[in-house]
Amino acid sequence: EAGVTQSPTHLIKTRGQQATLRCSPISGHTSVYWYQQALGLGLQFLLWYDEGEERNRGNFPPRFSGRQFPNYSSELNVNALELEDSALYLCASSPRLESYEQYFGPGTRLTVT
């Protein structure tokens, strides 16, 4: 069974630009979660999508947004990039039925210069 995949592995952007990160969940999983892992701040919950709808959102500004497609893959968009957006962005998925644990991808390393 293929795990959660994320692309790209690394992304370098300039302050003010937009970044798009992609995630494909494990086959059969309908929920996708996004986390930001910044140095010294640990993992911070960003977004939860399920069945194409945004279900919950963490304490991040509106320039962090995303969507979930009919095939359950997801995009995270970060507009007007700031230097402090530099972090590892992790995507996780979970099955349709509540299983409590989340399954993580390897992450996308975003560097803003």
Binding site: G3, L43, Q44
Partner: protein, 115 residues
Amino acid sequence: AQSVAQPEDQVNVAEGNPLTVKCTYSVSGNPYLFWYVQYPNRGLQFLLKYITGDNLVKGSYGFEAEFNKSQTSFHLKKPSALVSDSALYFCAVRARPGNNRKLIWGLGTSLAVNP
């Protein structure tokens, strides 16, 4: 405010010795509790969870954790450490009731097992 504390940034233990990685939380009610491990250049891997029932839960790779409601703790333990256990360990909690699926994370504890 809801929070998770991992009081030790780093834990060092000799191979073959027991290990403990500590986690305490401040979340109202009886939360769901989790441990994840992050190996270098790899994503987070689920180790174990406490949802309900027996306070001692067993997980992957010989790890176990004990839920202590009075001390609001969920310490991770292993009877005999392996060098391959060296990694970054994260404790996470999810408040209940509610279905917001939001996990609150500790900052992580780096475990170094010395041969």
